[in-house]
Structures are given as structure tokens and as C-alpha cells.
Symmetry: C2
Subunit: 581 residues, 2 copies
């Protein structure tokens, strides 16, 4: 009955900040050592931050990672570490885990299964590893996996268990968030545990990186797939756990086995060590933390996304155009939760088309949130545009042009405050309008970070209601939630003049975007044919707008970001739906 | 001495336009048949256009491609075709070549080597093929390759020749352009011909697709690597060629050979057929066309890029802000060559900072090009912004904020004309300023297509001079070429106040961007350390701007597009250069 004390360090690293990340890793090693931990794991590529993208094409960057790793190795006396880093070896680059023990780098495990779909481009950068690695620590054989490795039955865990005798799989991950992905992840790891009759240590990354959120929520499963312990979601954490395991005869040590299974068609390397500090200590109680429910989980992801984008890019404050509508209200609430009210500035920019209701609500909201609200009416500037364009437009009727001019005046004003004061503009567009192009390029789309870009309109209401429920009072005024949505760019305008009802629109968008369903399949869901056709045409036709939109936080299985790569010049819609109306 | 008449159809297809592309393919088949051609080849994925990107994730799209292919097959009586298309088979997708003969689909070859670097993401979509394919036509064994397949000695050509007896390699490609890439391509194919002692038929795609140009320039090499015939560059062409070859005993036919070489570790499939029309006809003279020289080649690429983006997206006209500087002048000249003067509208938007010289030059240029020039002075609108911002900026000194406001007023005006009249705005930013962020987001960066986005400032001058030389008169006024560059956003502003001299800047940018050289390596080229540091910092810091820029034409080995994937949140520069100034 050996007792092995293990820690899963769920850290928030910054891409490229090798010295900052190394410092954090060393700090966690010290904390773990103080708690009598014998093995500490860190997430996939946590040394350099994930995903480092084309930084991996820079030789200097890889060498600097190597140097940072060497520095960490010297700080590991009395403890064993598994640490994700990019390894360069004979001009090949690997997504690797360094196995470090008591001041020595004893080996590296190289990720075998490289995802190259969705948001992932790992085959752009990495060579696949070819062998498993089993670390036998105090007689406990621990197989190493990196993220994707554990998602398939034929991954390296199989050989690590069958040929290397592993009783535990330690998976270090950088698994991006979308709503309720935690459940998928747990299910996959439960299957891994059961199929291989082994414990699973699942150590996920936490933090926001551009469009991606890593939600943490690391956990430990027993060989039946039962949850033994877990970390919090959306924040740093260190999960310390005492593994009790009945000991077999060690099947082998410090040797290699040739294996024939694919893809781990190479060997299993094994390395046997004993911890320096004998494991005589009081048992740590098992940590069980409540998983967040659906709207709270998404809201927390958005808060973390804003906080990390702002912090990691060094902005002192953010700026939000407050229209009195639901989207800007929700964005502002998220920003305040992420950064504090002091760091959020609202700007209201009313025009002749702004209603008294929305103007008032902008003030109520700002008061409720405790943020500064600057007012800059745009009427004077709008008139000056109409004046100078009169000779060119020469008696033509007003149309969407004049609507867009107003939106772009607001964009220009927000950016001028951004330029003058160094504040980051947060845009407020939701996924429904981004999808169908119901937004103005360089207008309401102008800004550095699109907080609710992947949140549909119907979900925006749910999140607003969650926020009010959580606060125990209507932070987001009830009138904002109840008012019929309008862009207020012409008299009596309503979103529903131009768009299908949002519940229908969002359901069609989900089918078309997230599930890549074809027109005929969506029809079978019971929607009106013309409506489906129009929605698909709008989505396809507005690719050019999205291409120039700011990055925003992914919270669904498919966002308009790295997992959506459609050509702009694309005649396919025309082919199968007929000419666009 | 069999005489095989072959045609390389260098066609310009549109992504997604399956029926239009099929129609074009059938039209070329008919033209070829009339010329007594026995084998016609079409470029990689020409049925669906290249690159189709995430359209390949749509099952319906793949089925529609299959249907379009079946339609083409029925139109091939009396001729043999090799046609690139996306093949779906048992839920795997292949980058395939259909081998069609006299109304029958006789088989498919599947691309073995899938590029997943630079602008390519082929492993995102395709399974690799595992076997070669040799088509024996009239006794001539022809090995099939798709693009990347022929770029490595260990590709499928080796087994097709060594085990399948191929005497010819027919390579169908969609090889994206950058300056003088043709030379690289010819060199690689010459190596292929020599190593395998075979003829090479290299059939490239032509046309613009979003950021990519396919430059055509198909060619035929003899087994010594000598150029026998070639197609024109940057336009459609059909290269007809009579292959004379001494005939060996056919080594095998319609069978399979097991092979052990990697990556073509499978088999070589062979299929032997005879052409329906006996090849008794007058020999076609060999076509030898002059390759374009450097500046003309780049200029032609830009012209094709504009023409195809505008045409494939259905715009009637384009709109260009004419400042009187070199970048907008060059952009306008390219647009006129691409679309005709009737389809190009210039807009001059002078402010208090516009000099008499640039205002005059905008008129001279428009006259020379024969385009309409609309004038909209921005002073009135600029003043209205300053008025309404006065309370907020409250006595703060003017800075880059006020410069950006002017640029964004111009962006708003251009977009309002675009909205009102349905014209596409072409932006005029060059690569040097895009790299260092010497441009205004939503200002001069506002527009649908960035023509010279990948053209450095120094190259812009070369192209302007080429244009004037070619025209035999100064279409781009000499004063534009000779005037010191200025953004004219504050009194007496010059680019060189903010940037290093352009010759130095561009050389540093080339090293850092196109060659991924590190700071220390660039230093060794002899540049001032502070200058190099500043340039790298500006490039890294302005990633957020480029991310929201319009797509533009790639003409260098590395453009700011699909081949440049750097994170926005990125602290690496800070690490190795120290805090940014």
C-alpha cells in the first residue's frame, strides 16, 4: 500500500512569457514540496503558454524554452515533475513532457496524437512521438499522456498499461473550453480509466489566450471511472492527492519494450525512481468541488476571458459603448466582474433615433455597475457627414448607408478615447448578429476584443438573467431585458424587421454553424424553407465582415475564429440555394 | 515511336462554383477533342476550386462534388482526363485525381504528401493516399502526382517509375504564387525529371482566390530536365503537346505491385488503355513562351488578384481613396489594368494638412488613368469631431488621436460610398506600414481588399516605375514618385519622423518576417541594434491591427495571411528584447 502524494498544478501561463511562466512553475514546485508532494504535474506546453502558434517556427524561441526548462530543473531537489514544453531535437519539434527528478532531467515523453482539426494546428508544428513512457515512482508505474493522446482507445495509454504495466495515466492537457465541455472530457477520461483499469490524473490548463479559454477543472479518477477529486474551474488551483494503490511485483524497470500496436508503434520507455523524501505524512483529505452549472459556467468563462486578454495585453482600463440594449449591458457586467468597476468606462453616444428608454437605461445600468459614463451625442457630427455627402448622394433616398455612418461615428469616437487614454475598446456584438452580418464593420464592430462574439442573442438574455439572479438585484435593468431589440439607427427600427425571431434564428445558426448541417437537413428540423435559405445566405455572404472583426471568446463547439475557415470568394451557396435574394 | 497528344488545361476556377467549374472543364475537354488531344489534365481540386477550406467539412459539398464529377464523366467520349477533385470514400476525404476515359471513371489517385505548413492546412481535411497510380495510355506509362507529391525524392513518383515503369509524371498542381516562385518550381521538377529519368507534365492552376494567386505557367520537361513547352502566366491557357517516346515492352498492366518504400508504402495501381481516336495527325509545334521578368511578374500577379477578387465576389466597381501618394497611385493603376478605367472610382478627401502638391497629383493621376475622381474635403467633419470631443479631452494636447480621427473619417466616407453604390473599397496600405502598424485601424485600413498589402514600400516604387516604363509615359506622375512619403495627418509630417529609412526597414522586415530570423541574426547583417529592436517591437505589438485588416494579395514567401499565425497576447518580444519603449 504505497502512499504517493501527487499535485496537479492548474496554472495560468502567458504565451511567450518564458521567464514569468518559469517563475510561476518554480513557485508551485516550492508550494508542493512544502506539502510533502512527491510528484507534481503541469499542463501541456505550460512552459511557453498554449497555443504558441507560429512562435514555434522561431528557432530562437525553442532554444529559449530549452534554457527556461534547464533553469527549472535546477529547482527540483527532492521532488519529481512532469512539465509540458516544446522540445527541439535534431531539428524536429515535439509537443513534449519533461520528466524531472531531484535536479535531473531524466527523459521526455513526446505527444503521439496531434490534433489538427477545429482550433488545432498541431501538425503544422510538431512531429508525432512514437513511444509511450512509464515512470515508476516508489513502485507505482505511471504512464504519461498529453491531451489528445488519451482521447482514443488506440493511443499510447494502451501500450503503457499493457506492456509497461502502468497503473496510473497522468494526462497533462491544454483543453479549450466550450459550454459543458467538462462533461465530455470527464466521459472520455472515464472510458480511459475503465478500458485500462487505471487511475487517471487529468491536469488541465487554466486561463484565457486570445480567443480560447482553458477552464481548468482538473480531476482524478479511480480505475472504475469514479471521481476522486477535482480542482476549481476558471482559476488557478493546486490539487493535492494521496494515491493509495495495491502494489504488484514491478514488471520491469529502466528498460525498453518493443511494441507492435499503432500509433504507439515504437517502444515504451520506462524509468524507475524513488522519491527522495519518504512518504510518511498525514493523509490529505480528498478535494471535491462543486462543478458550475450551465449559465454560471459560461458567465465565468467570459469573465476569465476578459480579465486575461486585458491583463496579458497590459491595458489599464476598458471602454464600452453603452447603448441601453442587452448586449452592451451584459458586456459591461462581465467587464466589471472581470476587472472591477474602476477599470470600466462606459460611453453613451445618443442620436436622433435613440429613445428616452434606452438613454435612461444606459444611466441606470452604469449606476448599478458603479462605472463612469461619458456622454457624447453624435448629432452634430452625423449632420456634418450628411452635409458633405449631399453633393455625392444627390437626392438619393436614405438607406442602410446613413445607418452605418452613425455606427461608424460611434466607432471613431470610441477609438479616439482609446487612442487618447490607452483604454481597450470592448465590442458588444453577439453571435447571432455576427453570423448574419447584422452589424457595421468599423462601426459597432470596432474594438479590440469581442466579449460576447460567440454568445447567441437568446443566450445573452439567459446570462443577463443569471447575473441578476446571482447579484440578488436587477443590475441589468429589467426594462433592458424586456424591451424589443433595436439597433436604433432609423425611426422605429426593430431587429425583427430584418431578422427572423431570435429563438428560430439561433436554432438555425446552431445547426448550420456548430453542426455543419446542410439546408435540407435543417429543413427537416421543421423550419420554414425560405427562412432557412435566407439565414444561410446571410451567414455565407457576410464572411468578409467576420474576417475583419476583433477576436472574441469561444464558448460553443464552433466559434467564428480558428475553427471556422471559410473562403470569402465562395460561390457554393449560390449553387445549392440559387441566387441570393 | 508512339505519338501521344496531351493537353494541360490551365484553368481559372472559382471556389464552390461546382456547376460553373464543371461547365468550364467540359468546354476545355471539347476544345481539346477538336485538336485531337488524347489525354487532358486539369489542376488539383479544380472541380471545386482551390483552396476550398472548411467547405470540405460539409458532407453535402462533397456529395455535390461527386455529382458534378459524374456529370463530367459522361462528356468524355473519345478522350482521357485527369481531373482534380475532393473524393469522399467511407467517410474519409482525399485530395484526389479522377482518371476518366471515354465516358468511364476508371479510378482515382489520392495525393500522398499533404502539405500542412505555410498557407496549407491539408491535414485538416484529407487522409493521405497510400499508393501510386500508373496509367498506361497507348503504351505510354504515365505516373500521376498531385502537387506536393513531386517535391520530395521519396514521393510516389519513385515507385511509379521504379515499380510501375512510368516514363512520364503528370503532376496536377494548385501551387500558390510568390515572386519568382516559378524558378523554384522548375528547379524542383527538373530534379524530379532527372532523378526518375522521366518526362514531367506540370499543370498548374491559374487565378486569384482571396489572398492567394495561382500563376499558371504550366510546363513540360524532358527526362534531362530540359524545358520543352510552357503556358503563359496569370491567365487561362491550354498547352497542347505531342509526346514522342521510344516504347519499351510494357512491364505490366492492370495489376498491382506490392511495394515497401515509404511514404508510398502501398501499391502502384496500374491501368492500361488505348485512346479511342487513333493518333494520326499533324504534329503540333512546341509552344515556348517568354517567362515574365521580376517586376512585371509581380505587377501581373496583383492585376490578376484584383480582377478575380472583384469578379468572383460580384462587384461592379471599385473605390480607392487617392491621397496623391505612391501607394494609392500604384493601387489605382493596378485596378485600372485589372478592371478598366470605367470600373474604378477615385475619391480625394483633403484636410488642412494636405499639401497643394498631393492635391494636384491626385487629379493628375486620375486624369492619366482616365478614372472618375470624387472630391470630399473632410475639414467640416473633422472640426465637428474636435468640437464634441473637446469636453472629454479637456485641454489635452493633440496627438496621434487626432491623426487617427482624420483617417477614420476618410474610412467612413469611403464605406458610405461603398454602401450607397455597391462598390468595393480597395485599401492602399503597403507591407512596410502594415508590418509596423504605421496605419489606422478602421481608417486607411478600412476596405474589402488590400491590393498591395504584401508589397513593401521599396517594391511599390519599383512597380510604379515599371508601370510608367511599360506605358511609355508617366501614368503615375513623377512628382508622386519623387516626393518624400508623408501621411499628411499633422503639419510637416514625414514617414521618416516615425520610421527608419525604408530601404533599411524593408530589409529588416524581410529578415524578420519572411526568414523568421532572430534579433541577434539580423544584427549580424550590419544594422543598428536599436533600429532592429524597434522594428521587431513594432511588428509584434501591431499584431492586433493586422488581425482586423482586409485580406490582400500574397506575393512574397510569407505574407500577413494564412502563413502568419502569431498570437496577439504574446509576451515573447518583451522577454528577449526587454520592455518595449
Amino acid at each position: 500500500m504505497p502512499l504517493l502524494r501527487i499535485a496537479l498544478a492548474q496554472i495560468n501561463t502567458t504565451v511567450g512569457d518564458l521567464s514569468g511562466n518559469a517563475e510561476k512553475i518554480i513557485c508551485y514546485i516550492e508550494m508542493a514540496r512544502e506539502k510533502g508532494v512527491e510528484l507534481i504535474t503541469f499542463p501541456e506546453l505550460s512552459l511557453c503558454g498554449y497555443p504558441p502558434e507560429d512562435l514555434l517556427l522561431k528557432h530562437q524561441f525553442l532554444c529559449d524554452c530549452q534554457k527556461a526548462l534547464e533553469d527549472i530543473v535546477t529547482k527540483t531537489s527532492g521532488i519529481t515533475c512532469i512539465l509540458g514544453f516544446p522540445e527541439i531535437s535534431e531539428s524536429f519539434v515535439y509537443n513534449a513532457a519533461a520528466l524531472i527528478h531531484n535536479g535531473n532531467l531524466i527523459g521526455t515523453y513526446r505527444k503521439v496524437l496531434l490534433p489538427n482539426y477545429g482550433v488545432f494546428d498541431e501538425k503544422r508544428y510538431f512531429e508525432p512521438g512514437k513511444e509511450g513512457f512509464v515512470l515508476v515512482l516508489n513502485g507505482v508505474p505511471i504512464g504519461i499522456n498529453i491531451c489528445e493522446d488519451s482521447w482514443f482507445s488506440e493511443g499510447p495509454a494502451k501500450v503503457e498499461v499493457q506492456k509497461g504495466g502502468a497503473r496510473v495515466i497522468a494526462n497533462i492537457s491544454a483543453s479549450p473550453y466550450y459550454a459543458e465541455r467538462r462533461k465530455v472530457r470527464e466521459q472520455v477520461m472515464r472510458k480511459l480509466a475503465r478500458e485500462n483499469e487505471c487511475f487517471v490524473f487529468y491536469n488541465n490548463l487554466v486561463g484565457g489566450q486570445d480567443e480560447l479559454i482553458f477552464d481548468g477543472g482538473s480531476f482524478i479518477l479511480d480505475p472504475e471511472g469514479g471521481l476522486l477529486a477535482n480542482s476549481i474551474q476558471f482559476d488557478e488551483d493546486m490539487l493535492v492527492f494521496d494515491l493509495e494503490i495495491t502494489q504488484d511485483e514491478p514488471s520491469c524497470s529502466e528498460n525498453s519494450l518493443m511494441l507492435s500496436d499503432k500509433p504507439s508503434s515504437g517502444e515504451v520507455r520506462m524509468f524507475s525512481i524513488s522519491s527522495v523524501v519518504p512518504s510518511q505524512k498525514q493523509k490529505i483529505p480528498e478535494a471535491r468541488i462543486r462543478w458550475l452549472d450551465y449559465p454560471e459556467e459560461v458567465y465565468s468563462a467570459l469573465v476569465l476571458g476578459v480579465r486575461d486578454y486585458v491583463r496579458k495585453n497590459g491595458f489599464p482600463k476598458v471602454l464600452i459603448g453603452i447603448s441601453g440594449g442587452i448586449d452592451s449591458a451584459l458586456t459591461a457586467a462581465i467587464a466589471v466582474d472581470a476587472l472591477g468597476a474602476e477599470a470600466v468606462v462606459g460611453v453613451t453616444m445618443p442620436s436622433r433615433f435613440s429613445s428616452e428608454g434606452t438613454k435612461e437605461d444606459a444611466c441606470f445600468l452604469s449606476d448599478n455597475l458603479g462605472i463612469r459614463l461619458i456622454s457624447i451625442p453624435i448629432e452634430h457630427v452625423f449632420n456634418s457627414y450628411l452635409d458633405i455627402l449631399k453633393p455625392v448622394f444627390d437626392g438619393m433616398a436614405p438607406d442602410v448607408t446613413e445607418e452605418n455612418i452613425q455606427a461608424r461615428i460611434r466607432g471613431n469616437l470610441l477609438m479616439s478615447l482609446s487612442n487618447k487614454f490607452g483604454w481597450l475598446v470592448l465590442t458588444t456584438g453577439n453571435k447571432s448578429e455576427t453570423a448574419v452580418g447584422y452589424c457595421t464593420l468599423y462601426g459597432d464592430m470596432a474594438g479590440g476584443f469581442a466579449v460576447i462574439k460567440d454568445v447567441t442573442k437568446t443566450m445573452a438574455y439567459k446570462l443577463a438573467e443569471f447575473k441578476n439572479r446571482q447579484a440578488g438585484r436587477p443590475i441589468i435593468p429589467k426594462s433592458i431585458i424586456e424591451r424589443e431589440p433595436s439597433a436604433e439607427l432609423r425611426p422605429d427600427q426593430k431587429d425583427q424587421d430584418s431578422l427572423p425571431p431570435y429563438d428560430k434564428l439561433d436554432a438555425i445558426l446552431r445547426a448550420y454553424i456548430e453542426q455543419d448541417m446542410a439546408y435540407t437537413e435543417i429543413l427537416k428540423m421543421g423550419f420554414d424553407g425560405d427562412m432557412v435559405k435566407r439565414v444561410i445566405q446571410m451567414v455565407d455572404r457576410n464572411e468578409y465582415k467576420r474576417r475583419q472583426g476583433p477576436p472574441g471568446i469561444k464558448i460553443t463547439p464552433r466559434a467564428f475564429g480558428k475553427d471556422w475557415r471559410l473562403p470569402i470568394s465562395n460561390q457554393y451557396t449560390k449553387l445549392y440555394l440559387g441566387s441570393s435574394s
